[in-house]
């Protein structure tokens, strides 16, 4: 049983506010044989510089320390790869450090850069993430990813990470999904949505115009998950520049306030002991009393159905930014849709919906850019980038890509960054004839969740337009 002390539940108090100044990303794809990793990293950096009309030299002059997210050394077969990237970016002799927290690596990289700026160590910091998952065949890639599970207790069983998560999917499917065909279709809707949004994103690796039936007929991975329910394996890079207030306004006239928090839970799901549900600001102590009655088998928390790490990250971030109800207080989110079903689990962990009711976020149409039932703007659009299912999962870059995508909406520059014919051409991709502008009109606040595997690490990054801060922030 985890019992929290008062100290552990403290809402983080930063010494000074931190701003997101700019961000950029490379093309993402399953394999990019013609480029070295450092070329992709430079592509991302150049886009970030160009976004605020600075030359790379001008932007580099502001940077004081560097945070590099790259999860799997095994894939690139280069230890201290961060030092290679740092040199190729011409940022020596500034201090730099590598960060690796599995699927949450991108978010954790921002977390580190955030603290560097908030503490006053650096006025400006670079958070850059990348992954190179094309340097081994897929089955060896699966073995490497499975090495991020416990090597003695889990990896020898199948060497397949998907399997270690799929047992959670199975439990959620039976307990909260009640094995209903309607729930299975709701899962498929998430894949249809995210693959579809990816069609509007020139960076995206897997744009697809598909139907629920296509998802339900795709090859089975592990019941109830099918191939189109699962995230991609990708190559690519993304970066953001964070700065304190004074420096941020020197670099751009429109920086965004940024708050990042982190939570964790055991690497092996096996070790998760039963505990009381920690509550978010929009929940009451009574509301989960009958959870096990409404959903038989759902009384063990977090069991195999919830991600405590996500809940903790949300708890801290909401306190820091003053969020009470994420659906009301935020205008869009980018979630870690590693699998359609883990996406639903996350809606509950971060309080978009109460535990047991995650599916209604999709079924109400709230998660869409345009609610398909009303034709009105979705209440809280999710994963307009295409997410991990449609855009990419270049692990170290993923959490950073999500933050950039959210920011571009708040900046009102999403269309500019996604419609550009030259970019589509540069990436050797065809812009669809029915390309649609997904800009969330009037977006002021958004959040990105970065998440590792079965939930060992999760970060929450909240972006707020400085003119639209919430009351009650920490």
């Amino acid at each position: 049983m985890i019992k929290f002390s008062k100290q552990q539940l403290k809402i983080p108090q930063m010494s000074k506010p931190v701003y997101l100044v700019t961000g950029g990303m490379s093309k993402f794809d399953r394999a990019i044989p013609e480029k070295r990793t450092e070329e992709l990293v430079i592509d991302a950096f150049l886009e970030a510089a160009e976004f605020i009309k600075k030359s790379p030299e001008e932007l580099k002059k502001y940077i004081h320390s560097c945070y590099y997210g790259h999860f799997a050394d095994h894939f690139g077969d280069q230890l201290l790869g961060e030092a290679v990237i740092h040199d190729r970016l011409g940022l020596d002799p500034l201090g730099n450090v590598g960060i690796k927290t599995g699927g949450a690596t991108g978010g954790s990289t921002i977390w580190e850069a955030y603290k560097a700026v908030a503490s006053g160590y650096s006025d400006t910091a670079l958070a850059m993430g990348w992954e190179r998952m094309d340097e081994v065949p897929t089955d060896e890639g699966n073995h490497y990813i499975a090495s991020a599970a416990d090597k003695d207790w889990e990896t020898p069983m199948g060497h397949i990470y998907t399997g270690y998560y799929a047992v959670m999917a199975q439990k959620y499917w039976q307990v909260f999904g009640k094995e209903e065909e309607s729930f299975r279709r709701t899962l498929a809707e998430i894949a249809v949505k995210n693959k579809g949004y990816a069609r509007m994103n020139p960076h995206a690796q897997s744009p697809m115009k598909i139907t629920v039936e296509d998802v339900l007929n795709s090859p089975i991975v592990a019941h109830p998950l099918r191939a189109l329910d699962c995230c991609l394996m990708s190559v690519g890079a993304s970066c953001v520049i964070l700065a304190d207030e004074k420096t941020a306004y020197e670099m751009t006239d429109n920086p965004l306030l940024l708050y990042t928090s982190a939570g964790s839970h055991t690497l092996r799901v096996a070790d998760r002991r039963d505990m009381a549900i920690p509550l978010l600001p929009n929940e009451s102590p009574d509301q989960y009393k009958d959870l096990g009655v409404r959903f038989p088998g759902g009384d063990r928390y977090p069991g195999f159905t919830g991600f405590l790490a996500a809940r903790m990250a949300a708890y801290y971030a909401y306190g820091m930014a003053g969020i009470v109800d994420p659906t009301e207080d935020l205008d869009l989110v980018e979630l870690h849709d590693a699998f359609t079903i883990s996406d639903i689990q996350t809606y509950e962990d971060i309080g978009i919906r109460p535990y047991g009711e995650g599916r209604t976020y999709v079924e109400s149409g709230d998660c869409y850019h345009t609610n398909p039932f009303t034709g009105q703007p979705g209440k809280l659009p999710a994963n307009l980038s295409g997410g991990l299912i449609g855009c990419m999962h270049a692990v170290g870059a993923t959490g950073i890509m999500q933050v950039i995508e959210v920011a571009q909406h708040i900046w009102g520059r999403w269309s500019e960054m996604h419609a550009d014919e030259a970019k589509w051409k540069r990436f050797n991709r065809v812009k669809p004839d029915d390309w649609t502008d997904l800009q969330v009109k009037g977006a002021k606040r958004g959040m990105a969740i970065s998440h590792a595997g079965v939930g060992s690490h999760v970060t929450a990054t909240v972006l707020v337009h400085p003119d639209h801060q919430l009351k009650g922030r920490g």
Binding site: M157, Q170, H223
Partner: protein, 196 residues
């Protein structure tokens, strides 16, 4: 290129003594596109690692003796005194005192059931299990944790009673020496090398 005389390791006077080969070198091969342009090279690697089980060694040793060992916090001052763990935890996660070993074999034979499971045809490189794989996450009465394993016989279901089986003949001294079968399975049906 030979891969004969693969390395083995002994410990003498607290030091690793290695004999045989721990790696084999193979030549790189060029990677080219359709036009013959050089894009990269292959980097073959064949190495053996040396891995210490440390305080968990009794668990892996005893699987081959048909024993399932867990541990228990034995510190009366601990908030979670008496909590029982499998996977075997060397130290209590709360007080960090060294846990006491407990034999969970009988408990597992009587009171183990499937908390959740999954079936997959997909595996990664180096997999040794027959496909499809059936993972089962097994819960025990009075134990704080839920152990991951694989089912060797039958189809898994949540709530199904299962019993452990152990690879007592030619054990691997890994977690693969432990598997699960439905309660009531007859000894004659067990996979080669496994016993109750």
């Amino acid at each position: 290129m030979t891969t004969q005389n693969r390395g083995t390791v002994k410990v003498e006077n607290g030091r690793y003594r290695v004999t045989g080969n721990f790696h084999y070198a193979y030549p790189n091969e060029p990677i080219r596109d359709e036009s013959g342009k050089l894009l990269g090279i292959t980097n073959p690697a064949d190495m053996t690692h040396i891995h210490a089980y440390g305080g968990e060694a009794p668990f892996f040793e005893n699987l081959s003796n048909a024993k399932l060992l867990g541990t228990k916090c034995a510190n009366p001052k601990c908030e979670t005194y008496g909590s029982v763990y499998i996977p075997y935890r060397i130290h209590c996660p709360d007080c960090l005192m060294r846990n006491e070993e407990v034999d969970l074999t009988e408990l597992a034979r009587k009171g183990a059931s499937v908390h959740t499971f999954m079936i997959t045809e997909r595996t990664g490189a180096f997999n040794t299990l027959e496909k499809p794989i059936r993972f089962v996450n097994v819960e025990f009465e009075g134990v704080s944790t839920i152990l991951m394993g694989y089912l060797s016989i039958g189809e898994p279901k949540i709530g199904m009673k299962v019993v452990p089986i152990f690879q007592t003949k030619n054990p691997t001294f890994t977690i693969m020496d432990l598997s699960w079968v439905p309660a009531g399975t007859s000894a004659a049906d067990l996979p080669e090398g496994f016993a109750f």
